[in-house]
């Protein structure tokens, strides 16, 4: 089975409150924030590995392959390399930047990559934590005319690898959909819970550690030899025009800090007489 994971390089999401607005509102400045892989994409890599390996022995079929693709600056190769250290096989980097992309263009470019790579599955994050759009997976599925499931919190691959049952985290519960491959799946946080992925190879009794896997040094060294092909975005032959236009950026209105109350009695009194919410 071949899996394609799109991965976006984003500014450190845990420090997103340190971004600045530059050039009179024309730019978001992320200087000083460590660039990281979008966490949802890291989860997509983890979940994809769980689909193709035996979790217990970490053995994999020779024919199975995981390719990581990114549209971003040259430096995004570092983030792809990390995904290869987790167990990805190869990487593709198409040079671009956030200002020259929108969700529609990313999806159209991905459709071209799919045409070339012919994966059985595209597994991607439900949202990039910088743009927070939550759109690429859905658009890609429509462009490819592939069945899809967004917000995946569980995946169960059939023994014949022809279908996958996906649990989708939605308002009010969990919807299960059965997709016939090839398909697009966007993953949510809980996809990296210990038993969220089943593939008929990993023993049912086996539980993964919570979260995306750590990459031990030997894997990091091994990943250095794995190929990452870099090319201009234009080499995909996509129309680079955008369907949306960002005019300016601003910081949100600051919320002024309040007061500390000494006990529950004072809290209740303030909520009644000052805030008038009780």
């Amino acid at each position: 089975m071949k899996i394609l994971v799109p991965l976006k390089r984003t500014a450190d999401p845990d420090n997103a409150n340190k971004i600045k607005i530059g050039a009179g509102g024309a730019k978001i400045e992320t200087t000083g924030l460590e660039p990281k892989a979008n966490p949802f994409d890291e989860y997509a890599v983890e979940a994809s590995l769980r689909l193709i390996e035996n979790g217990q022995t970490k053995a994999r079929n020779a024919g199975d392959k995981l390719t990581v693709v990114s549209f971003g600056p040259k430096e995004a190769a570092t983030n792809i390399r990390q995904a290869l250290a987790m167990g990805g096989d190869d990487g593709l980097l198409f040079l671009s930047d956030d200002e020259s992309l929108d969700g529609d263009l990313v999806a159209r470019a991905l459709a071209k990559v799919v045409e070339q790579q012919k994966p059985d599955l595209v597994v991607l994050g439900k949202q990039a934590v910088d743009g927070d759009s939550n759109q690429v997976g859905q658009i890609l599925a429509e462009l490819l005319q592939w069945p899809s499931a967004t917000f995946a919190m569980s995946m169960e691959l059939s023994a014949d690898k022809k279908t996958v049952i996906v649990g989708r985290e939605v308002d009010g519960g969990v919807i299960k959909l059965k997709l016939t491959l090839p398909a697009v799946i966007s993953v949510d946080l809980r996809i990296v819970a210990p038993k969220s992925v089943a593939n008929h190879v990993t023993p049912a009794t086996f539980a993964y550690p919570e979260g995306a896997r750590f990459t031990p040094l030997p894997m990091i060294i091994k990943a250095k030899a794995k190929p990452i092909v870099e090319a201009p975005l234009a080499s995909l032959g996509v129309d680079a025009s955008l369907k949306s236009k960002y005019l300016s950026f601003a910081l949100p209105p600051a919320r002024k800090g309040g007061v500390k109350v000494k006990d529950v009695a004072e809290l209740v009194q303030k909520l009644r007489t000052e805030a008038k919410v009780l």
Binding site: P13, I28, P147, T150, F151, K176, A275
Partner: protein, 322 residues
């Protein structure tokens, strides 16, 4: 003629409150609008929607729409959207899934999870929170047809405006992908409490509640005496203390109630993104340095296991006094 199509959300035939935020978007955008209802057995929902000032209420009522499957809904919605300049749906899990699909089918640009709309000189300009709400972008969609999803917490539910819009039947359009995606089940979490996104008061608990039992015995009495919705941090959800759909935050639900009480929640960026527009924020945390105190209007440094029962009792007393 510029016109908006509002896509309604129904669940088991019943109109969902999210719809009213999308209607509110249409009113703010200042263009005439129609409403589209796609579902099965949605006659009553359509009837209800006639009172909101829409030109018409379009109804696609068909057994194949009994459960939401994006591949099955998108062709019908896209067909009905032809001729409209804007298609809007509220950014619930339904809207987040559907809107980009419709945009793709129409070749339209998409503005996701917007928090504001301004109409000037015939063009619509949107405000979009990015980076967990730490930046607000002002943006436009440049295609003739635009698709928008609107953040429920930023568009107050529209009230009926009287009148009776006409009802128009819309045919279900065949979905070529229907054979390759099969609805298996909906495992619904039933709760008698108000829905998070609609509640006037939200009480959220964190990892510090330590177990499902902790939520039940410590937090729930406060939630219920306040008639509040219950929320949680990701840490509490991941640990399985409460169902997934109670997660508040950047990647969970965004809420903006009159009163938000964060109990034993540290105030990580991702959590704050989901509640910082609440009118009044209360934080109860034993760590005086917890980041949540930086935005709380009222901070109480205390052990929650002592403070929450005390607060519950105090509210009970107030309620008893009437």
């Amino acid at each position: 003629m510029s016109k908006i199509l509002v896509v309604a959300e129904v669940s088991a035939g019943k109109l969902k409150k999210t719809t009213h935020s999308a209607i509110s978007f249409a009113r703010l955008a200042g263009m005439p609008f129609d409403v589209l209802v796609v579902g099965h057995g949605v006659g009553a929902a359509a009837e209800e929607l006639r009172a909101y000032g829409a030109g018409s209420v379009k109804v696609a009522d068909d057994a194949r729409f009994a459960n939401y499957v994006g591949e099955v809904f998108a062709p019908t919605v896209s067909e009905a959207a032809k001729g409209y300049s804007v298609v809007v749906v509220t950014a619930s899990s339904f809207g987040k899934d559907l809107a980009p699909r419709v945009a793709a089918r129409l070749g339209a640009g998409f503005a996701s999870d917007i928090a504001g709309v301004e109409a000037s000189g015939g063009a619509l300009t949107y405000k979009r929170p990015m980076y967990a709400g730490n930046a607000i972008a002002t943006m436009q969609v440049t295609t003739a047809t635009q698709v928008v999803s609107a953040r429920q917490s930023e568009f107050e539910a529209a009230a009926p405006s009287g009148g009776a819009s006409s009802i128009e039947k819309v045919a279900a359009v065949d979905a070529p992908l229907a054979g390759r995606v099969e609805f298996v089940s909906f495992d619904e979490v039933k709760s008698a409490r108000p829905e998070l996104a609609e509640a006037k008061v939200v009480v959220s608990g964190g990892r510090s509640l330590k177990s499902a039992e902790g939520f039940k015995t410590v937090l729930e009495p406060l939630v219920d005496v306040l008639g509040a919705a219950m929320g949680a941090s990701r840490a509490a959800v991941d640990a399985g203390y409460v169902p997934n759909d109670l997660q508040v935050g950047q990647t969970g639900k965004v809420v903006a109630p009159k009163l938000y009480i964060a109990v034993g929640i540290s105030g990580a960026i991702q959590h704050i993104a989901g509640m910082k527009n609440s009118k009044v924020i209360v934080a109860i945390n034993k760590d005086p340095e917890a980041p949540i105190f930086q935005l709380a209007d009222y901070g109480l440094v205390a052990d929650l296991y002592k403070a929450v029962p005390e607060l519950t009792d105090a509210v009970k007393k107030i309620r008893a006094e009437g």
